[in-house]
Amino acid sequence: STVVLVFQAPLSRSPENGESSSDFKFLVQRGDRVRAGEALGR
């Protein structure tokens, strides 16, 4: 089975080019084993 999580989170802007450098940071990598309750992102 599979779980897909979709959520809003803060974005900040780097004023010079308006490109989004998001506030929200994932703390995992693809292929990582995770356990319920562990931080996914901050």
Partner: protein, 350 residues
């Protein structure tokens, strides 16, 4: 007659040996394929989306009937004397951690009871940082990132993406929040009820490149996703990733394709086609939805917040409606309130 009878004595053992041989070859081939995929991943090589004959063949199989038969089989009571051996064999085959099971193995009457076992107190500490989102399940992170672009697409594998709107359903709050932010800059969040409250004053823009309004007083919002795959041996209960108000539940009966690594590479729109339960609501930063997607062997999704929901039901031939069955949770606009780490659902076999 007797000579003919004597000639047949070897048929049954012969057929059994041939079947076991065939299963052994198939399993060996599968292990070889998995090894090749593992080696490729280690080298950073990523296979592209590539439909094949097997995925086309899967479309012809009665997957739901197979799943329901598997459910009947796994709900057969196992004699107490055999339970620890059966569950021990399962744990060795699928790398389950038996030490964490909340009960002694003899207490699990069926394989289904064992599969949906709870864990000993303290086995899954919840990260206390109020700024962090936690994993809702045990599993392997397949993909994650920010959802950009007007189509709001999520990559299934390299070379194929699916729409988040198709995954969550056409009646998802998602478009409302997006529209709300585009049209009405001043909307303040009332209590979360009614159409206006669906508009969040956090804005997510699918338009890209993002236009930054330096005079905007409101913090900008992005939309993010994370896809986690649960192996058969993993702990299969689902927990709240944050403090979360669940306002709506959508159940898509769909199909029950396998969702292993090979299926993600060969079946188009896998998570949009499969049976799934979508829970949607709000967390401290705005919109949050979780899609629990079933599979052939794990076709049932049980909700702690709505125990009466039944999934993986025998398909009524004439009722092939693709529309999801939806429920809005009371009280209106507040829904079901969960703390981070609260149990919200569980996958089960069959």
């Amino acid at each position: 007659g007797s000579s003919k009878g004597n000639g047949d004595w070897f048929l049954l053992p012969g057929a059994t040996v041939a079947t076991l041989l065939m299963l052994g070859v198939l399993h060996g081939r599968r292990m070889y394929e998995d090894m090749k995929v593992g080696e490729a991943h280690e080298k950073g090589i990523e296979f592209e989306f590539q439909p094949d004959a097997k995925s086309a063949f899967l479309r012809l199989l009665p997957l739901r009937s197979i799943s329901r038969c598997w459910g009947v089989l796994t709900s057969v009571e196992i004699p107490v004397s055999l339970r620890s051996r059966v569950y021990g064999a399962w744990a060795r085959a699928f790398h389950s951690n038996l030490e964490e099971a909340a009960l002694p193995l003899e207490e699990y009457a069926t394989l289904q009871d064992f599969f949906v076992r709870t864990l000993k107190e303290g086995s899954r500490p919840i990260d206390p940082d109020p700024q962090c989102l936690v994993s809702p399940v045990d599993g392997t992170v397949l993909r994650f990132g920010e959802i950009k672009g007007a189509g709001a697409m999520i990559e299934q594998v390299k070379g194929f993406s699916y729409s988040v709107f198709s995954l969550l359903g056409a009646t998802s709050f998602l478009p409302t929040i997006a529209k709300g932010d585009m049209q009405d800059e001043s909307s303040e969040p009332e209590n979360v009820s009614g159409e206006k409250s669906r508009k969040s004053w956090w804005s997510i823009s699918f338009a890209s490149p993002k236009v930054w309004n330096p005079y905007s007083s409101r913090p900008m919002k992005g939309l993010f996703y994370c896809v986690i795959y649960l192996k058969p041996g993993d702990y299969h209960r689902v927990h709240a990733p944050a403090d979360w108000n669940i306002l709506a539940r959508r159940h898509f009966s769909g199909r029950l394709y396998p969702v292993n690594e090979r299926a993600t590479r060969t079946i188009r729109n896998l998570y949009v086609e499969n049976e799934r339960v979508v829970l949607e609501g709000l967390w401290q930063e705005g919109f949050m939805a979780l899609a629990a997607v079933g599979a052939t062997n794990i076709g049932s999704i049980e909700l702690s917040i709505e125990p009466e929901l039944r999934t993986n039901q025998a398909k009524k031939k004439f009722l092939h409606s693709e529309r999801p069955e939806e429920r809005l949770y009371e009280p209106d606009g507040v829904g079901r309130t969960l703390k981070k780490g609260d149990e919200v659902a569980a996958f089960n076999m069959g």
